[in-house]
């Protein structure tokens, strides 16, 4: 496909005796899921564009343990956490950015008590900071005037109180931001959290992602913006389920910024 992008690892940095400005925690979805990999690449393009000195753990990264913990397997969670903390501490990592709100929440909130204290930020917060510092320029480009609705990821929004960073980025794209009936602190889950992503739903009369997608469709958007690879999958499936994939795209905020400039 396209030419390989330059993605330095922490091991390479260490070999050169250097420390990157920030560690990009890619996460399992960002590493393996075909849809989420596009988000990862878009974010990396933005990092390059803003001349951010970053590195990834690569093959030394492992699941944060979020799905295990939320499924009730505290033992497996802590095994994962301690393994990761050992690696992160060995590299003397100070600052971590991730495009997955689940990784973000777990490392930020649940690792410190286990010996892993870092400054952890979500990629939308990081991009907003780059914008404020003038390192990243965001302009409308091809999204100017488009109707966009933003789906709040539970683990970014309610769980950690960040509702504005993704919206500020979208506003910079000069889009027409429309809110769903249930948004921000009352935003409806996409249905993937709490390890639901990895199992069939319990019997009911509807899938959660369909309920949420219908609500998003009510706002008649051109694009549903997301900030989480799992929400992205759930909403993409929902849009397909409603046979609207010809009219509505589901995109991560980072992809939108990268695509706006055709990076």
């Amino acid at each position: 496909m396209s030419e390989p992008i330059k993605v330095p690892t922490m091991a390479e940095y260490m070999a050169q005796g250097k420390q990157p400005e920030v560690l990009f925690w890619v996460g399992c979805a960002g590493s393996f899921d075909d849809r989420a990999k596009k988000i990862t690449k878009a974010f990396v393009k933005l990092l390059h564009n803003a001349k951010v000195d970053f590195a990834v753990l690569g093959t030394e990264e492992s699941c944060t343990g979020d799905p295990a913990k939320r499924a009730g397997n505290e033992f497996l969670f802590q095994m994962q956490a301690m393994g990761n903390i050992e690696v992160l501490n060995a590299y003397e990592v100070k600052k971590i950015v991730t495009a997955c709100p689940h990784c973000f929440n777990t490392i930020k909130n649940e690792y410190p008590e286990l010996g892993g204290s870092y400054e952890v930020i979500h990629h939308t917060q990081f991009l907003k900071d780059l914008l404020v510092e003038g390192r990243l320029r965001v302009e409308g480009g091809k999204f100017k005037g488009k109707r966009i609705t933003f789906h709040d990821p539970c683990y970014l929004g309610r769980a950690n109180g960040e509702y504005e960073a993704p919206r500020e980025l979208l506003e910079k794209l000069e889009v027409e931001l429309v809110e769903m009936r249930r948004c921000k602190s009352r935003g409806l889950c996409c249905g993937a959290g709490g390890a639901q992503m990895f199992k069939e739903a319990e019997p009911g009369d509807k899938e959660v992602n369909i309920e949420r997608t219908e609500e998003a469709i009510e706002t008649q958007p051109d694009i549903i913006a997301a900030g989480c690879p799992f929400c992205n999958t759930m909403l993409t499936d929902g849009v397909k389920g409603k046979e609207k994939e010809g009219d509505i795209q589901v995109l991560d905020v980072a992809e939108m910024i990268a695509n706006a400039e055709d990076l």
Partner: protein
């Protein structure tokens, strides 16, 4: 003979407050059946939460109609209770309107009580209509059948009757003042009950006294009965909301607690210097149990949560699982916890200590199907106006299912095995984690 009313009043007061105290002690004992939990941190934030969320009702107004009605009833309840103080003094000492010496201040006080009483009456009628005529969905969910539905209505009827008695008492008093009856001091301003007075015109003094005394006695006895009804009702929230908000979660909602007993074991496993055959150190004992299958495994804050829940159903009406027809209802989690805790309390009372009754919170009250439907999205926690955390109970029970019983749904076992072996919930090799950069 003339002291008989005073003595009867004293007896009623002692009986009312005494029985209430007894039940509160029972409640505290039941809560103490839970695991101890340290909540000595974040004091400033906790007090600020009490002021904002409990006293200030900040979360109630997220839903403006119900919020406004609730604030009216809440303010009315608190302010009108000043009048109860006067009633108690009058009752004990045979005085009449003892505070009337305050003059103009008293006039405005009584006027305020009257206006609030009317507003409470209107508010309560609105509440009743929302439940019984408008049939708002959250009041008609599965778990609301029978007692919970009746309980809610009984509370509303109680409040209606108390307010009507209060206004009737004032109306009769006003008319007695107007005809210059002995003992009925000229005092107070009656902006509401003056409109009831025309109904009483033409009654003799003795009939008016009978009406006034009857309303007075029924009002105060009604308050004492209502006080004692609390323990058996969802209405306990009028007291427990305050401590419950104080003990509410003060860390980010996404932060779930890490089990310390597990940390110790994992650390030991990962320590290359640890001797695998060493006997456990003195004083370290294996935890009795991971997670929760019954109320005694939950912590004291979770049990306080259960008693505080007033079954408003805001949690359930925001729950993605419930909204899409799954069995999970966060409100039911709280109601089940309280019901089981009461059952355990009765068991202890009957047997001196808890005698296994072949039942537990898991399966006999809360079904696995409910627990596994949760997306851990925190919508229920966010929605609760009194800082109840149903999600923490769901998580503790999942821990029991997975760590004690290995009873996770099959697909989750697959995902967990993948995490264990490959460091990802899918069956990809950890060595392929960076392949995306070349694709």
């Amino acid at each position: 003979m003339q002291y008989i009313p005073n003595i009867l009043f004293l007896i009623a007061l002692i009986a009312g407050i005494g029985y209430f105290t007894k039940n509160i002690r029972k409640l505290i004992r039941n809560i103490k059946l839970g695991q101890e939990v340290d909540a000595s941190n974040h004091k400033a934030e906790r007090w600020s939460n009490v002021v904002r969320i409990a006293l200030g009702q900040s979360k109630m107004v997220v839903r403006p109609v119900a919020g406004l009605l609730h604030i009216i009833v809440y303010v009315g309840f608190i302010v009108i209770n000043i009048e109860v103080l006067e009633i108690i003094i009058d009752g004990l000492f045979g005085t009449h309107r003892i505070f009337s010496g305050m003059g103009v201040v008293y006039d405005y006080l009584i006027a305020t009580f009257e206006i609030l009483a009317l507003l409470v009456l209107v508010g309560v009628i609105f509440f009743w209509t929302r439940r019984n005529i408008q049939k708002i969905r959250r009041f008609w969910a599965r778990e609301m059948k029978g007692w919970p539905k009746n309980d809610a209505n009984y509370i509303l009827y109680f409040e209606m009757v108390l307010m009507v008695l209060f206004l009737t008492m004032n109306a009769a008093d006003l008319q007695l003042q107007r005809i210059g009856a002995d003992h009925y001091t000229q005092a107070g301003m009656f902006p509401v009950s003056q409109y009831i007075v025309p109904l009483l015109e033409g009654f003799s003094e003795s009939t008016l006294i009978l009406i006034e005394r009857t309303a007075w006695w029924l009002h105060i006895l009604g308050i004492l009965v209502f006080l004692n009804y609390l323990y058996f009702s969802k209405h306990l929230h009028i007291i427990l909301a305050f401590p419950n908000v104080y003990f509410g979660k003060v860390v980010p909602k996404g932060k779930f607690k890490n089990l310390e007993s597990v940390t110790n074991e994992v650390k030991l496993m990962m320590d290359p210097n640890a001797d695998p055959f060493a006997a456990p150190a003195e004083g370290t004992e294996a935890p009795a149990k991971f997670g929760a299958s019954d109320v005694m495994d939950l912590n004291q804050i979770q049990l306080l949560n259960a008693y505080t829940c007033t079954e408003c159903g805001r949690c359930t009406s925001e729950c993605p699982a419930n909204l899409t027809g799954k069995k999970l209802s966060p409100r039911k989690i709280m109601m089940d916890t309280r019901d089981r805790l009461e059952e355990v309390g009765k068991n202890i009372k009957a047997n001196g200590e808890f005698k296994p009754d072949g039942k537990q919170l898991l399966d006999d009250y809360i079904l696995r199907e409910e627990l596994w439907a949760c997306t851990t999205c925190n919508a229920c926690v966010e929605a609760c106006p009194v800082s109840i955390d149903p999600l923490s109970i769901i998580m503790d029970m999942r821990q029991y299912l997975v760590m004690e019983q290995s009873a996770a749904p099959q697909e989750l076992n697959v995902a967990m095995t993948n995490i264990e072996n490959n460091g990802a919930p899918w069956p990809y090799n950890q060595m392929d984690r960076l392949n995306w950069k070349n694709e």
